[in-house]
């Protein structure tokens, strides 16, 4: 589904990669090694060179906005641009239905963003991404601030997405999570990406 050939930018050596439908690949490596750089380059958030395509359509052949809705990046630290949580969702009704699956109350949509805990922010940012139904999810430590129960809920949701054909590339430091979700791994060190057995 996602085919990457010779993706490179400053701090990232050329890299080839294929992600199949329903596949989850973990990304590991030391801090500052280039994991975030890699995900951002794939999402086209930073200028990069190389041939990327999704379901046979080249990245440059579609507007950047369309590419990012299909190959969607979730930053480790979520950004908020309105005061109220609900204002960040285009389809509030769909958000209401999704939130309980993440262990969040529907009322969370009426809360001010400033009141949210780290874990709530992280799950709401994930909800925001899930609601645009991307083909490929680029997740940067999506459960780093969550308790075990919430982590389990998130993993359950991600598994559902995988079963319906989405692909996931996920930065994680949690070896158990990697075993539970990923079929194989990538290791990023000093901007070099290498394949790793699961």
């Amino acid at each position: 589904m996602l085919v990457i050939r010779g993706l490179t930018r400053a701090g990232l050596e050329p890299f080839d990669f294929d992600l199949a439908d329903g596949e989850c690949v973990s990304v590991r490596g030391p801090s500052g090694g280039g994991k975030t750089t890699l995900l951002r380059a794939i999402a086209d958030l930073d200028p990069s060179a190389g041939d990327l395509s999704l379901d046979g359509v080249a990245r440059e052949a579609m507007p950047a906005t369309q590419w990012r809705r299909a190959v969607c990046y979730l930053a480790a630290e979520a950004g908020w641009w309105e005061d109220r949580v609900g204002a960040h969702f285009s389809d509030v009704q769909a958000a209401r239905e999704l939130l309980p699956d993440l262990g969040l109350a529907e009322e969370a949509l009426d809360w001010p963003v400033s009141r949210l805990s780290t874990g709530e922010r992280q799950r709401l940012a994930l909800a925001r991404l899930l609601l645009i139904a991307p083909r490929v999810l680029l997740l940067d430590e999506p459960t780093s601030g969550l308790d075990p129960d919430s982590t389990e809920l998130v993993e359950m949701l991600l598994r559902t997405r995988l079963e319906s054909g989405a692909g996931i590339l996920m930065v994680t430091h949690d070896r158990d999570q990697e075993r539970r979700l990923a079929t194989r791994g990538l290791r990023v060190t000093d901007g070099r990406v290498a394949g790793e057995a699961p």
Partner: protein, 267 residues
């Protein structure tokens, strides 16, 4: 005209106030005296020079020379705008963004006023063109400097919010909208405030000057109104241009936030 001409002695007497202030600063150890005296000396020299230049220009009445001086004024204003930025764009842009938007806005508004409202003969008569340009430029400069500063600091401060929107597939116009609006507001607020306070709190400098020169108050009011509309127009166009072009420069056609085009923590 029935105005009272000032002698150098009159001005010297007024200047004693500053000397008195400087003496107070020494006495109270405020250490402001040097700055005060240097600034006052600069003011005296700069204004005398300007008086000389204007006198010469009025006599020569050359379109080429007048436009040269006008350009020089705008280039100096551009440098001032750049000096007021906490963060700066890289390369030519740090100077060019503010300067070009000011040149366009101020030239447009000044020429518009000279050719359709004041209509001196010839329309580029330095006696009208340069003072008008000076007033419009001074205000536009403040607005543009504030607007650009807010845009650049806002883009850097709101980075996670802007990139969160871009990552969700929002176009750059939307992702940047909040910062753009805030920068425009910041650039335009001083002019809006000036318009609402004028006549209640202060008698504007130009009107004071005209009244002291013996002009009827109502005539002076008409000139002041004209100037205020021109200033508001010039500031509006200048801030709009600078902020929109600046926002366009901080993003690219692939809807990315390009903070790499900002100098890192430049002072």
């Amino acid at each position: 005209m029935n105005f009272i001409a000032l002698s150098p002695v009159d001005i010297a007497i007024a200047a004693t106030l500053l000397i008195l202030n400087a003496a107070l600063s020494i006495f109270l150890r405020l250490r402001l005296e040097k700055q005060m005296l240097v600034a006052a000396a600069r003011m005296v020299v700069q204004l005398l020079l300007m008086g000389l230049v204007l006198k010469t220009l009025f006599n020569l009445n050359s379109a080429l020379l007048t436009s040269l001086i006008a350009l020089l004024m705008m280039l100096f204003a551009g440098r001032e705008v750049m000096a007021r930025q906490k963060r700066r764009l890289k390369g030519w842009w740090s100077y060019g963004l503010g300067t070009t938007s000011m040149v366009f806005a101020c030239a447009l508004v000044t020429i518009f006023a000279l050719t359709t409202q004041i209509r001196p003969d010839p329309w580029y008569d330095a006696r009208f063109a340069l003072p008008m340009l000076g007033m419009i430029l001074g205000n536009t400069m403040t607005g543009v400097a504030l607007g650009i500063d807010r845009l650049l600091t806002g883009a850097a401060a709101e980075r996670t919010a802007i990139e969160a929107r871009l990552a969700l597939g929002h176009p750059r116009e939307e992702a940047f909208g909040g910062v753009i609006r805030e920068a425009m507001r910041t650039g335009l607020i001083p002019t809006v405030n000036a318009m609402s306070a004028i006549g209640l709190v202060s008698i504007p400098g130009m009107m004071t000057g005209q009244i002291l020169a013996g002009i009827e108050p109502m005539e002076a009011v008409k000139y002041q109104l004209l100037i205020m509309f021109l200033i508001a127009g010039g500031t509006g166009f200048g801030v709009l241009g600078a902020v929109l072009v600046g926002a366009w420069r901080l993003t690219d056609s692939r809807h990315r936030l390009r903070l790499d085009r900002l100098r890192a923590g430049a002072e």
